[in-house]
Symmetry: C2
Amino acid sequence: MPSVAELAGYSSRVREALRAAGASVGDRIRISKGDLVVEGILMPRPALGDRDCVVVKLDSGYNIGIRFEEGTTIELLGPGAKPAFARPPKPERKPGLPEVAFISTGGTIASRVEYRTGAVRPALEAEDLYALFPELSDIAFIRAEVLYSLLSEDMRPENWAGMAERAAYYIRNGVDGVVIAHGTDTMTYSAAALSFALRGLSVPVVFVGAQRSSDRPSSDAALNLIGAFVAASRGPFAEVVVAMHEGMGDEAIAIHRGTRVRKCHTSRRDAFRSVNAPQLARVVGMDIQMLTDDYDRRGEGELEVLARFEPRVALLKAYPGMDPGLLDWLVDEGYRGVVLEGTGLGHVGYYMLDAIRRATREGLVVCMASQCIWGRVNMNVYERGRDLLAAGVIPLGDMLPETALVKLMWVLGSLTDDPEEAKALMLKPFAHEVGPRTPISTLAP
Amino acid sequence: MPSVAELAGYSSRVREALRAAGASVGDRIRISKGDLVVEGILMPRPALGDRDCVVVKLDSGYNIGIRFEEGTTIELLGPGAKPAFARPPKPERKPGLPEVAFISTGGTIASRVEYRTGAVRPALEAEDLYALFPELSDIAFIRAEVLYSLLSEDMRPENWAGMAERAAYYIRNGVDGVVIAHGTDTMTYSAAALSFALRGLSVPVVFVGAQRSSDRPSSDAALNLIGAFVAASRGPFAEVVVAMHEGMGDEAIAIHRGTRVRKCHTSRRDAFRSVNAPQLARVVGMDIQMLTDDYDRRGEGELEVLARFEPRVALLKAYPGMDPGLLDWLVDEGYRGVVLEGTGLGHVGYYMLDAIRRATREGLVVCMASQCIWGRVNMNVYERGRDLLAAGVIPLGDMLPETALVKLMWVLGSLTDDPEEAKALMLKPFAHEVGPRTPISTLAP
């Protein structure tokens, strides 16, 4: 008999129909409404939304809401999968296995849904990881901790600092690599941040996420996680990277450089792409294939953490009719820097020029990246670019706008207070975030 | 003997060296400086920048600046190409040829560089176009006008209205199609704007640009322009589209729907891509291959121009640590709407929620698109999305953020003053700008 608490979010008519069918949350049910027939697992009602709406998890893993109306029928098909969270036994440490730190910050990766309550519990202990993904016990000895349980859209620059400090703690304690589980929304911002903050890195630091949660059959969580542990334990590079599906299939996990990667699709498993730079590597099974020779080698470097990020730095995307008052507001509020996501080769409308000149005059560092995403800003081609250079705007070459934002926060937070010095530092590569000047011979197609 | 005026921008030492070599602007010269030897056409000195820097147009079409120093030598190789701007004879109208209006708004397409002065003159008369691109005389009888001479980054919503009115003028006067030459930076914003503003369109309206100016051997101007005229004169569709190179080679010109196209590279000829929708068509030689059957047919519709765009609409791209004060400022300034370019499926940080709730409470229309660019926002999957829906944010499906901005300006400028009505209209497709709800069966990969 279903308890009242489980169905609490539903309206009284829905609760009544569910009780009549004998269906509890977690059971497999069939809802029929005219021509529509849906089968799946009955889920608890979220706090917000229509309380007449019955939430069912389909076999595809997606939740669907069916509004209960006159004539809607509900049948109980049987008990659903109701995983228990029994703690698995602590594994023996296999001799000779590399040691990898696993820092969980939130997101759907490596979480488990408890069907009876709908609650998501982070898989915090190493034993949980081994139990969920048995392959991991042959790849690495894992030291796991939950640092945050944050939606990735809620990450702020202070969280980047926290991640950098924890990664450094494990590296100083001798791990062979670090894996950081992170929601996918802002993972690339965090990866860029740690790329700058962890100076003199000696091992791989691998961000990993999942586009689909691990309780769904189509989840990319397991393969991404295994790829991340292979990269962290055996990768020959000492850089901050992102490990995610390379294609729609399960052939390979792509390893992208943290400063050169972008989430380019809202939901596809292969949403993450290296931009303006080659993908760093690929993991196929237990093999790591390096795709470029231009990377920082494992085992070099004296670790230093420079993890202060200046919060008074903004990103503004330019558009026709943009209000220069947005930039004036930043200046009035005491902002220290701004990245403009300009059009084309790095332009903004004439009506922005006065505000930009005022901003640079008042000591803000104003940088230019391109909303085209691919390619490089070149502010010497057209008159407007030259106007902007004359106004003191710093052209960021082929740096991604998101990476540029993080770098400017880092330069002004960790390296210098002086705008002129900051401008020079924005042009200097620290973590492969910008390519060298494209040779003249390759400018023409 | 070179005149003083031509070399006026250069420093006295550069002028002296050029006079000693007998070189005028427009001549072919060789500059040697240590190991560096550069040959090309001597260009005039732009107003800004290092006056010791000699500007040379390379055979690739790119300008390069060589700083004149102790030991730098300049030789005159011969006179450069110095095109005259003699007016070609007025062509006879060939019987049976479709009539196409050509509206020039600026940009590098269909401009000619006068080497002696470095000035760019728009090719304004139909005769100039026929002279530059003789193929055009077999494609269409052209009625040409210069509406603007604007850098595309300087286009504002009032210019979209101007373009819509002029296009409508020609359509009402019986042309078979319209070609609008436009700089590439903001061409897709303008194309989206006319897609909304020209209701009941009966002929194609084709935006065309060039990534490389027509005085460079690698220019894409000629082929893009010919493709645009083929599409405008013979295309079976009655939509606003963009005609640009489909690939790096010269095989085909892509025809993209104006609401579904994005400039995805700063400089490549194939920078323009259809996003979240199939490319509409392809022009190969004089043939038009339709790539989808889902388009508005030529010859239908009663033209109506709705071309008011509300300027108090903004686009804000979300990022970690974003300042909610940016949104508060828009509310304080009396803005009517804002498009948020959220992360992932359409999210922003928790610290933005109060400002968003205040904005919707004060009557702003707040819409959500995704900075992923590809895919569609889905605010029912995660808690934050549901919070935002509860706060009154309108999810824009797979609409491009740039198109969303233009549409919101249009809805609030041309259709309604009422926020609730505007919200409903943002969800209604007007120009194929948003796809239908993806069927459940195709949500899983």
